[in-house]
């Protein structure tokens, strides 16, 4: 039969589209095979990079594999542990604060001693030019947390200056820093509470 006649046939159309689907899905399946590993690697690298930002120092384990899940009232918290010679030296986890325009996601790294190693904001919706000074790209503000712990400053000073604390607020935008400070402080309190689990001192082997 001629191609012209065939094209009008119902079956042909079914087969055509089916055939195309067959070919393309096959192609995609192979492509997926080919890229899967690289994608995984890229995502892992991504995650790792964001974690190590708040983890200065050298560690000898694979952060991404050494995790523990804390069951908190506000939802599960996934913590990554950094070890040296099998001992947990620091942990990294996410905390969420609430700013002017919604949730502010931060990661914080806390040392074995309960001191902050670093804080980074991963995502937020604060007003550019006002509230976005919490990003490292815009200002050094978040570095102010480094080395702080629950005893330094004292509990009533864990607030922005306007509320009597020691952390700067931004001109015309107090709400954002207030939210971040509150979240970080909450993170430290979490560390305190779950210290044993986090530091792997309950006996479970890595």
């Amino acid at each position: 039969m001629k191609l012209e006649e065939l094209r009008g046939k119902l079956v042909y159309q079914g087969i055509l589209l089916g055939g195309v689907a067959l070919l393309t899905s096959a192609a995609l399946s192979f492509a997926s095979r080919a890229t899967e590993a690289d994608i995984k690697a890229a995502e892992a690298a991504d995650l790792k990079q964001s974690l190590t930002q708040v983890l200065p120092g050298e560690y000898d384990n694979d952060l991404l594999k050494d995790t523990v899940t804390l069951h908190e009232p506000g939802g599960d918290v996934l913590a990554y542990r950094a070890r040296r010679a099998g001992k947990v030296e620091a942990v990294v986890y996410r905390v969420t604060g609430y700013g002017y325009a919604g949730a502010i996601m931060c990661v914080m790294g806390v040392s074995r001693e309960g001191k902050i190693l670093g804080v980074r904001v991963i995502s937020h919706k604060e007003t550019p030019g006002l509230g976005d000074k919490i990003e490292t790209a815009k200002s050094n503000w978040v570095h102010a947390f480094e080395g702080k712990w629950l005893g330094e400053p004292t509990a009533d000073k864990w607030a922005v200056k306007k509320d009597g604390g020691i952390f700067d607020q931004f001109a015309g935008a107090t709400i954002t820093p207030r939210g971040v400070v509150k979240a970080v402080r909450g993170g430290l309190e979490l560390f305190d509470k779950e210290r044993a689990t986090l530091l792997d001192e309950t006996g479970a082997k890595p």
């Binding site: 899905s25 399946s29 997926s32 002017y100």
Partner: protein, 191 residues
């Protein structure tokens, strides 16, 4: 209940598909010269968007996920959307010739309205539940219809204004869309 209402308002006003998420702009710009067309397009989109979010959710959760073939998502979704559009067209043509008169010519255009695929993909990305997805789709469609109608009203009036030649037609259309987006920023922080 009020949570769902909030979700609906949020998707329709605060995170409007067209003005904030930048989806479905081609029909927004293309089919907004006459009120009838805009109305038809809005209705058709609402219908298809809601159906398609349901269908793609099922596809994702009952086929792609169990089989672990999420990488076929785009392909499967777009096929499904095309099918939903086709199906809608046939059903409407069969059951209500009157409605078909109104919506007919807009249905095929929807296949390439990126809002439909966009919302479906966003639903997957945000791991929404079925009900949530459905409302998300419907709310987005409402938002689309709302701005579509507002914009059409504005453009109809614009057609009567004495716009400078360099701006008449599409350029001023974009400026107006920009001002409309500016107004919708007032909803920020609601819900």
């Amino acid at each position: 209940m009020s949570e769902y209402l909030l979700l609906l308002l949020g998707t329709a006003l605060v995170n409007n598909v067209v003005l904030v998420k930048f989806l479905g702009l081609c029909p927004f710009m293309g089919v907004s010269k006459k009120m009838d067309g805009a109305l038809g397009m809005s209705m058709a989109t609402t219908f298809v968007l809601t159906l398609a979010t349901a269908a793609t959710w099922m596809l994702e959760h009952w086929l792609l996920m169990p089989l672990g073939i999420q990488y076929l998502r785009i392909l499967a979704f777009i096929l499904t959307i095309a099918a939903v559009v086709q199906f809608t067209e046939m059903v409407i043509r069969k059951t209500s010739p009157g409605l078909y008169q109104v919506l007919g010519i807009y249905l095929p255009l929807i296949t390439t309205n990126c809002a439909v695929l966009g919302i479906a993909l966003l639903n997957v990305q945000e791991k929404n539940s079925f009900m949530h997805s459905l409302l998300y789709g419907f709310g987005s469609a409402l938002g689309f219809s709302l701005v579509m109608l507002l914009f059409t009203g504005l453009r109809v009036r614009l057609a009567l204004a004495q716009v400078p030649p360099a701006f008449s037609g599409a350029p001023i259309g974009f400026v107006v869309a920009g001002l409309l987006a500016l107004s919708f920023m007032g909803f920020a922080g609601l819900a």
